[in-house]
């Protein structure tokens, strides 16, 4: 494989990893606060739909982004209400979110646009265009690093850089701020946080809303940067791969970036080698590579290689009087 196609694979790995990264960070916030969220998929899907519809109506990508964020946060609040206020089963609530999102986007999309559930294609200012970072051309003369910077680091949409910023912000907030410390504590031992006079529900709601915002970012990216409008079921399981990445990253921000880039790379390679025989091993079925993230997660969770331990209080509703 020559340098040009290697860079192309790396570039598409970055692009494919961004929705995973957004959903993975969303899951990280939620689960670190003790709320299990398997509704990442659904929240990304409603965000993608809202972003596609709003961008089509207004012609503005930013309006699309805000609509995406709002739709995703609305669904996140439903999850928060049932998981935090009503102390319902968080897995069941997540399943409900996914079903509602899949059904509602298809129904409403079909009723509004009569295009089999998709939103009308958008372009120009209604999409997030590619941004060329400063110096991309000037530095491209440097061997290896120059093209790497131009092809892989530069030339993505605003949302990609926002997602990377979100990694830094997540790490810094959780590791270095009072809010982050309390949030982590609430996911490990909510009773201790409650005893200290800090609202368990308040912290968990904050985390759930942040998860909604991040899923909104991921969904908007799918509809307005990767594609040109919403397509039915366009999340295609990314919210679940993000859960796998979260387990891989052991609920930490920087490893989450690594895991999502790895899964994005697998995806990019799978697309690349479809039908192409490789040296030594011959033709590798594309499904084998597609199955790898799921298989690796199962192996990791089972503790055959390493051990992934979730936050201690995740999935358990907090009951004050006990």
């Amino acid at each position: 494989m020559d340098l040009v196609s290697l860079l192309a694979v790396l570039d598409s790995a970055v692009r494919l990893s961004i929705p995973l990264l957004c959903a993975c960070l969303a899951g990280l916030w939620s689960e670190r606060s003790g709320v299990v969220d398997i509704g990442l998929e659904g929240k990304m899907l409603v965000a993608a739909f809202a972003a596609g519809a709003a961008a089509h109506a207004s012609g503005s990508a930013i309006a699309g982004l805000f609509a995406g964020l709002a739709a995703s946060v609305a669904f996140a609040l439903v999850h928060g209400f049932s998981a935090i206020s009503q102390r319902g089963n968080q897995i069941v609530s997540g399943v409900a979110i996914n079903m509602l999102a899949a059904g509602l986007t298809a129904i409403v999309g079909n009723a509004w646009y009569h295009q089999g559930g998709r939103t009308p294609p958008v372009d120009g200012a209604a999409r997030f265009g590619e941004i060329t970072l400063p110096g991309a051309e000037a530095l491209s003369g440097i061997p290896l690093l120059g093209p790497l910077y131009r092809e892989v680091v530069s030339g993505h949409s605003l949302l990609v850089y926002l997602a990377i910023l979100a990694v830094i912000a997540t790490w810094w907030t959780l590791a270095r701020t009072r809010f982050g410390l309390r949030l982590r504590a609430v996911g490990e031992n909510p009773a201790a946080v409650d005893t200290a006079g800090i609202s368990v529900a308040g912290l968990r709601y904050a985390a759930v809303v942040l998860a909604g915002l991040l899923c909104g970012l991921g969904g908007t990216y799918l509809a307005l940067a990767q594609a040109a409008g919403f397509l039915p079921h366009m999340t295609a399981g990314k919210g679940f791969i993000a859960l796998a990445a979260l387990i891989f990253a052991k609920w930490r921000a920087w490893p989450a970036l690594g895991a999502c880039l790895l899964f994005g790379l697998l995806d990019a390679v799978a697309i690349r080698i479809e039908g192409v025989p490789l040296p030594v091993i011959g033709r590798v079925p594309v499904q084998a590579i597609q199955a790898l993230p799921y298989l690796m997660t199962v192996v990791l969770l089972a503790g055959f290689i390493g051990r992934a331990v979730p936050p201690r209080a995740s999935g358990i509703p907090y009951v004050k009087e006990r």
Partner: protein, 375 residues
């Protein structure tokens, strides 16, 4: 819940699910009204399409068959305290099992081949349920995450097999099963008896589904094993004191759950499609979660809920002719709302039911006092 709400049994069994289903239909009605259609006309068309003709009833019961199997699969695991959302994957792998038997053992006569195909489906589905059960019981991995991953693994596995190994060249399906591997249609049997019956996909797998429901009932409520499973579900530490191994019960429940999900493959592939094709599970596994929650994990409740979803599925398909804006995705929405109301927000509806019951008993008591004073 911090304080369990005590309800009379009738309220627990009927009032709570009825309230959440009514609320779910109210939400669905709002969605229908929101996209500019009349919910009452839609309901009328839906009922007419699903129950208004013999043909409609045939289709409805065919869908009901699928929902009974996936609902029972979720319900049985639920009794062991497990949330099996791997019904899709288990049914997919069960389809591979059924297809392998029907394609490569078709030298057997029909009386042996059909049971062998059903057993093949059950065995493969059971395997796909057993592995997550084993991983939960012995390795401590969370059943929900593992079953999600197994859904995706099953989806890639079937694509690989059908495209590269057992499928026909150029199409994403296998060759048709032999004629004697096919489970007969009900309308064919009726016509053989001289009764005119319209064509529908309803086949004798429906009776298998009812038998499975009876079997699950006997197992869960009338057998030693079922008692052990329920004990583990209610309180694993108490089960240990009673000499029951939670790990074993988890594996047993997940294995049986996977086998039940395999019934979906039997109905779809051996009953209707007569070949293995991709995505034949088409979301029945997920709706099964709604069916089990609405039926409160009781086989009778599951049959009732499955019938309701069968009506919605068939009625929804008919409805789409008259109101193109309402597609079958409406069923997914209703399923989602039922999962939310009957599952996640169960406490809210229990409290509502408790208030209604209190109001009712208060009213009765007040009237008794008044008649006593007057008399």
């Amino acid at each position: 819940m911090s304080t369990p709400i005590d309800l009379p049994r009738w309220a627990d069994v009927i009032l709570v699910p009825a309230l959440s289903v009514a609320a779910a239909f109210a939400v669905a009605g709002l969605v229908v009204a929101g996209i500019g259609e009349d919910p009452f006309t839609a309901t009328r068309l839906l009922i007419a399409g699903s129950l208004g003709s013999v043909e409609g009833v045939g289709f409805t019961l065919y869908y009901t068959t699928n929902f009974i199997f996936t609902g029972l699969a979720v319900a049985l695991a639920y009794h062991a305290g497990l949330f099996n959302i791997g019904g899709e994957g288990q049914a997919t792998v069960a389809g591979i099992g059924a297809a392998l038997v029907c394609l490569y053992a078709d030298f057997l006569p029909g009386v042996l081949l059909i049971p062998a195909g059903i057993l093949g489906a059950a065995a493969f589905g059971a395997l796909w349920g057993f592995v997550p059960g084993y991983l939960q019981a012995r390795r401590g991995s969370h059943i929900v995450i593992t079953t999600i991953m197994f859904n995706f693994l099953a989806a890639t596995l079937i694509v690989y097999l059908v495209v590269n190994v057992i499928g026909e060249r150029g199409v994403t399906e296998t060759r048709a099963f032999a004629r004697h591997a096919v489970i007969p249609y009900v309308h064919e049997a009726l016509r053989a008896l001289g009764i005119a019956a319209p064509t529908s996909p309803l086949n004798f797998t429906f009776l298998l589904a009812l038998a499975a429901a009876a079997g699950v009932w006997a197992l869960v409520y009338r057998s030693r094993l079922g008692y052990a499973i329920r004990t583990v579900g209610a309180n694993p530490s108490a089960a240990v004191y009673a000499g029951i191994s939670p790990a074993r019960m988890i594996m047993v429940a997940m294995t049986l759950s996977g086998a039940l999900a395999g019934g979906l493959a039997v109905n779809e592939l051996m009953g209707v499609q007569h070949r293995l094709l991709l995505e034949f599970t088409s979301g029945y596994g997920f709706v099964g979660i709604a069916v089990a929650l609405m039926g409160r994990a009781h086989p009778a409740g599951v049959i009732f809920a499955a019938l309701l979803f069968g009506v919605l599925y068939q009625g929804g398909a008919e409805l789409a002719f008259d109101m193109p804006a309402i597609t079958r995705d409406m069923v997914v929405v209703i399923g989602g709302v039922i999962v939310l109301f009957a599952g996640a927000l169960e406490g809210l509806f229990r409290r509502l039911a408790a208030r209604l019951v209190a109001l009712g008993t208060g009213f009765v008591a007040a009237r008794r006092v008044r008649t006593a004073e007057e008399g």
